[in-house]
Symmetry: C2
Subunit: 208 residues, 2 copies
């Protein structure tokens, strides 16, 4: 069996594992379901990934990486504060709604075992804080000093932005019920609109 095929099998398993863990979470995921989805024998799961725990750990770790990479990507550019906000919001909403399982999965699992998550996060946190937080916070301070925006606690601002981008995806059934009365309306249109709506909302909230 060639290297390509070996990798293919391993990757197929991993892809299947992601799907199942995303949909069912750690407790709900079944090794049998994963091997069925990958089209291989269940024993192969343990051949390539020793245990459910190890397998989950790799899926979770990779997902957190992807999550953080996306959080870090856009804000590292050199832009004005308002541009930064526009681009970040657009990027976050795109990412979350293109990968709707990820936010639900991440929220579920960081609350199931928050210590494991914090340990996992330690390595990536500095990158995020240096590349994203720091320049963003500096930009905020500058604009406050220049009198362009109101004085505001950057922690609340950041949490506000992320909340508005991420919650609609994880609260979709709730929002569809309350806002759309389950007529489901055009959810994709609603999310598309939010890219502009949220950015405007934030900028209006801080602009003097």
């Amino acid at each position: 069996m060639t290297d390509e095929q070996r990798l293919k099998t391993e990757e197929q398993i991993f892809a299947a594992a992601m799907e199942v863990f995303f949909e069912k979470g750690y407790y709900g995921a079944r090794m049998q379901d994963i091997s069925d989805k990958a089209g291989i024998n269940k024993a192969l799961l343990h051949y390539y990934y020793r245990s459910k725990d190890k397998m989950f750990e790799m899926v979770f770790s990779k997902t957190i990486d992807k999550f953080f990479e996306n959080m870090a990507f856009t804000l590292s550019k050199d832009m004005s504060l308002f541009e930064r906000i526009e681009v970040a919001v657009d990027n976050y909403i795109s990412f979350f709604s293109d990968n709707p399982h990820i936010p639900v999965f991440v929220v579920q699992e960081i609350n199931r075992d928050s210590e494991a998550f914090k340990k996992l996060m330690i390595d990536k946190i500095d990158m995020l804080r240096n590349n994203v937080m720091a320049p963003f916070v500096m930009s905020i301070q500058e604009n406050i000093a220049k009198g362009v925006i109101r004085p505001i606690d950057f922690r609340h601002l950041i949490v506000n932005i992320v909340s508005m981008c991420i919650f609609p995806v994880i609260g979709k059934p709730l929002i569809q019920g309350v806002v759309f009365a389950n007529n489901s309306g055009d959810w994709n249109l609603f999310i598309e609109e939010r890219k502009k709506a949220v950015a405007e909302f934030v900028i209006n909230a801080i602009k003097k």
Copy 2:
């Protein structure tokens, strides 16, 4: 055995079931854990609540009720739009942070079986829409007409408010990592601050 004692047993079981389902979710909850926590024999669970499914259904239903009641409570008063926002935000943040397991549980379970949730919600949705949404939306339209606030899509406004109130609770480990660098700072203080910060943020965002 007296009526009080009978009720006491049933209620103890229910309370234990809530705790375990809140903490572990449907898939992670174990009937044995629930009976241990209630201090009774496992068979009693089935004596009072036929199955895990039925028991979960009752816990979930009661939780959704509590959730919706809280969402509905404050906005039903007769206040100005800005007062409404202040009171609603204060109330939502208080409720969610006093019952931090509820938002995580609800988000987890509405995504696990969103159809079951929608069915459950149908009865309560009209109440919520009539008592909360309708007067709030009317107030928004009035204030737009009077030129007090910018024209804004009420759906996005509502989703924004709820997002900023609920997400910090369900994303706590993430936020603690990114914003507090896991020094955990004073989380309770941060949440307390948000009651004012979010209300101000929203009002500034819409005020002309």
